[in-house]
Symmetry: C2
Subunit: 429 residues, 2 copies
């Protein structure tokens, strides 16, 4: 006998699960429509070079599914969507009015140890706004995410929007004499915040950062643009001031949209790749474990690998699975265990084998009149069939027995109030 | 510079293409809803054994993407959905009321020479009705397909529904003394009809079938159940008569549904795997090349590999790409090259940089009132922006200049009749 389970770290989507995914993606699609984003998709397989050019070596070599095909091509099952998006944008960016607004729901693949919240096949939500460096594009990302969470009924106190600015921090570090190597270490350290006990973390900082440890510790306490400016002090250069001004403009634009859960977060740096400006995360703040639900930010040279053109954009990625966990923990998902039969839907059956053809014709007729009809292909007794219909959540039955055959009609029965209505069966065309 | 093209035989889906796919899948989903089918999905990767158990050796070894992962598992990118569907059904079949109606839109993968109508990554449409051997389940497949094609506006004369019955043919062959090997050869020969010139084909039959060539040629002329019965003649056994009766019942059930393009087709045998009863194809009969758009049939022991239970079902698969070609050739697809802005959608812009924040707030307010709003994040002159909006197909603009700022309002402009309406900008919550 063959194993009936899917591969480790991958999920089957039975109708209950699929309804949940569809519910989530429909809400996201509604937000996309509301902000005029257009859907795109790319092949799941790509040449491995597309990823090794920009993604981390660890991601490509260790954490991905990659193999050589029969034609000798080294292929990868995409671990993320951004490189494919950039490749596609590079194909059309010259002929399209900018900015471009694109979104997608790609399946992505990582060869990692499976654990709660991490799958080897996972559905991702990606939004990108490319071809403008306006701070109002960054603000739109936040506005869009706010709209997504509102669509699910998640109030502002269930999550926070944490942001930072890579340009701001880079100029801060420059002003404090960090060289390239020290800066890389700085980002790596900052990214570890909250991932180990506080005491260990402080020790880690003192160990790794020598004479700069005090600065790192102070930095991690700086919870506003003013605090960061104070930290920069008289060392602040023009680039720092400009970045700080942009951040203030960003905060004010977001607040003007009625969004009050945006916070400056020194530890939000979103890895080293791509990002060159404002970066952000949605962070779960209520029920369930504290975790990032979504991350994104501005990138300045994503298309540089494909064309001479230097195009600035901003975007984010969010996992459907993680988002689903958050919504469940906050009681924001309907019950998907039973399909809820829509108003105009009926379970259709007949009581004797000879009546199948007439009943099937009646079902077809009802469908043409806008009904969803589940047709029971084998004859059954009335009480048993009514019970089956009720178990399946139907409010209506269509039933046909010998009496109905004589009258060439079918009975539409309301299971809630017992009302019957006879409907004439005519020739379907 | 990196190549911007996707892998050979795979397609990028730009928003235009994606709109087409979504249009097609929405129509199919509507039919699925109307017949009470439920959506499911499975991982793209499966253990290779799942496919080598039932699919042809050629498909698994030569025509698929398969590889060994870092954990030593031999994996395959699914070349078709049926084995995964069977695996999933086996997991839940005991606890669910039968029959089960499932559908899915899986991406599938084949390592074949790419050509028109054949891709290496392709989107498939799969429907299955499992847990009943009623002939009315077979008829439902036809009814469902009719509904799908009607949803697209395809009339009966643009396609035919060709069917045959594996049980009928097997008992016919048995009655004529075909042994197992000769039967396999027979199906292979019959399947080649129309794939080479007639003269060559006749010669091929005479060469391959020796003393049985006359029978094969006569069989291929038998275009009805009566003709097949005549061919069976006095050799016909009880199984043959039973199968012939079932076929007649099937034809009559389908005709009763107002479907008149069902034809018995001796050459429709749908390969050797799975199928054990009625098999069918939708065949393009109008514009474009003659080809099968869809194929399916009854299988009796799909779950046997996973459980002791012997469950009968019927189903079909259809390629989105091929279906799209057929619809295009018949002029049944809208123009997807430009997005058609929906009634309540507007292009929103401001004329001076200082007005961005107020305009973004106005856009957010309009979205809360049900409008889809594309926000231009950089200031622009009115004529240029109106032109951009028109090019993008918008009927409405939202514009904000210094006058509107004074009044704290935004202008909703109808681009078709030039009408302006002022809308007060309030605080968004």
């Amino acid at each position: 006998m063959l194993n009936t389970l899917p591969l480790k770290g991958m999920n089957d989507y039975f109708p209950d699960d699929q309804r949940k995914t569809d519910y989530i993606l429909e809400k996201i699609s509604a937000a996309a429509h509301s902000f005029a984003y257009e859907k795109y998709d790319a092949p799941v397989l790509e040449p491995v070079e597309l990823f090794s050019a920009k993604s981390s070596v660890e991601l490509v070599n260790e954490q991905s599914y990659n193999f050589t095909d029969k034609g000798g091509r080294h292929l990868i099952l995409r671990p993320e969507m951004t490189p494919s998006m950039a490749r596609m944008m590079a194909r059309v960016i010259k002929e399209k009015p900018k900015p471009l607004r694109w979104y997608s729901f790609p399946n992505c693949y990582r060869y990692e140890r499976p654990q709660k919240g991490r799958l080897r096949e996972f559905r991702q939500i990606n939004f990108d706004l490319v071809g403008t460096n306006s701070i109002y594009a960054d603000a739109e990302m936040i506005s869009l995410l706010r709209s997504v969470f509102s669509n699910f009924g998640a109030s502002e106190n269930t999550y926070s929007i944490r942001f930072n600015d890579r340009r701001l921090i880079n100029s801060l570090l420059g002003a404090h004499g960090f060289n390239a190597e020290q800066s890389i270490l700085f980002f790596s350290t900052v990214d570890k915040k909250g991932k180990m006990p506080d005491a260990d973390y402080n020790e880690y900082i003192r160990e790794k950062h020598d004479g700069q440890a005090e600065f790192v510790l102070k930095y991690l306490q700086a919870d506003s643009i003013s605090a960061i400016s104070e930290l920069a002090g008289t060392n602040a250069n023009a680039e720092f001031s400009q970045a700080a001004d942009k951040c203030r403009e960003f905060i004010s634009a977001v607040n003007r949209l009625g969004i009050n859960n945006l916070v400056f977060s020194p530890s939000t740096v979103r890895g080293l790749d791509y990002y060159t400006g404002i970066v952000f995360e949605i962070f779960a703040e209520s029920a369930g474990p504290a975790r990032a639900l979504c991350g994104g930010g501005r990138y300045d040279n994503l298309l540089g690998l494909f064309s001479g053109e230097n195009l600035s954009g901003t975007g984010f990625g969010m996992g459907v699975y993680i988002l689903g966990l958050f919504l469940e923990e906050n009681g924001l998902l309907p019950d998907f265990s039973e399909k809820t039969a829509s108003e105009k839907s009926a379970f259709c059956f007949f009581t004797e084998p000879g009546l199948a053809s007439l009943t099937a014709a009646a079902a077809a007729q009802m469908r043409l009149n806008g009904w969803a009809v589940e047709f029971e292909p084998e004859a059954g007794k009335i009480p048993k069939m009514l019970g089956k219909a009720q178990k399946k959540g139907y409010k209506f039955c269509l039933l046909l027995g010998p009496d109905e055959e004589k009258k060439q009609c079918i009975v539409l029965k309301n299971l809630e109030n017992g009302e019957n209505r006879e409907i004439k069966v005519t020739q379907v065309h």
